[in-house]
Symmetry: C2
Subunit: 205 residues, 2 copies
């Protein structure tokens, strides 16, 4: 394989492939072909093979992919084989829901600490974690946590983001509807619920 810039769309699809492979593996599948994978996630096999090809060739011609090996390969590409711990900031309705959410585990992602600025919440326990004071954010530094889930009110988004960056956070999953400014070394992925909801009527005509 020659050098290629990896399409962002490819990176976005990899977690899907990973989840599918894990689920199929759990279901007993030891070998997996690109068409089986495509069928499972509603994609097409050429796309999947092309996506994989950017990172090397990890299948066997005429046979397919070793499911376990594929899981390892994708995990490695996505850097899900290393540091996978995150903190969550903002224990409102959405924050609490995400704390209770079980979908992260399939990727080995784990929320290790929770912060809020509300004195009535600090000290309380939620999903096995004691809610900490956001002023004590630097306690995460020795733990080397690099990811944060941001579920604070919009008007606090930038302020809290700055604090996160100061405390070595390098990736933020942003649930606020604001654009947050970060240094180039920090990556933000945003989920904007209302934004996605707002285009439904367009498609429904």
């Amino acid at each position: 394989m020659r050098y290629h810039k990896i399409p962002d769309e490819t990176v976005k699809r990899l977690p899907r492939y990973l989840r599918a492979a894990v689920l199929l593996r759990r279901g007993g599948k030891k070998k997996l072909s690109s068409s089986e994978l495509a069928e499972f996630i509603g994609s097409n096999s050429t796309q999947i093979r092309k996506d994989f090809s950017y990172f090397g060739s990890f299948g066997t011609r005429g046979v397919g992919y070793d499911t376990q090996k594929l899981i390892k390969q994708i995990s490695k590409i996505l850097k899900l084989d290393g540091q996978r711990e995150a903190i969550l900031i903002g224990v409102g309705n959405l924050g609490s829901a995400i704390l209770a959410y079980e979908g992260f585990s399939i990727y080995g992602l784990l929320i290790k600490a929770v912060f809020d600025n509300n004195l009535r919440k600090i000290g309380k326990k939620l999903n096995g974690l004691v809610i900490e004071d956001i002023a004590k954010l630097k306690s995460i530094r020795p733990k080397k946590i690099k990811m944060a889930i941001l579920t604070v009110p919009s008007n606090q988004a930038q302020h809290v983001t700055d604090k996160l960056v100061d405390n070595n956070i390098r990736g933020i999953l942003n649930f606020t509807s604001c654009r947050i400014e970060v240094p180039r070394k920090v990556k933000v992925v945003s989920i904007d619920i209302a934004l996605d909801m707002a285009r439904l009527p367009y498609y429904m005509q």
Copy 2:
């Protein structure tokens, strides 16, 4: 303007433009240029003008856009000027959080009814709405509600989706991590929290 197929990426950006315009209008802006809008949302002015151009031309050369008129135009394109009511199915942690979420209002979207299958929840009140039995879904038909937010556990996703489709739902905001099968006339937009979280480590290297 000649005929053009509208890029899906354009449609995805329209809600952002709309929100920005509404916020800027609230801030007192009566005229708005594409570069001001671009600055506000972190995009670029050419992109914005091109996006608008697919739907006609609603600015004034040398001047910019009338903010209020722009809001109307985008709302009309997105069909946010008509039926904007939705139901929510599955009052777990995430469902409750979304029910309490205030971000929909800027688009005029409204959750009008909530359903669950848990007998201990049915009849209880949440955010001013009584939780109804999912078996009584057909009560929405006379209300002509066409949108649903799906926050049920994954193993119920397809079953509940089928019921929604039977009851004239034509657009679904899907928070489950499954692919749900629907007839072609029904549109699904999916938000998969773990999927977006799982690619953060990749970008953080």
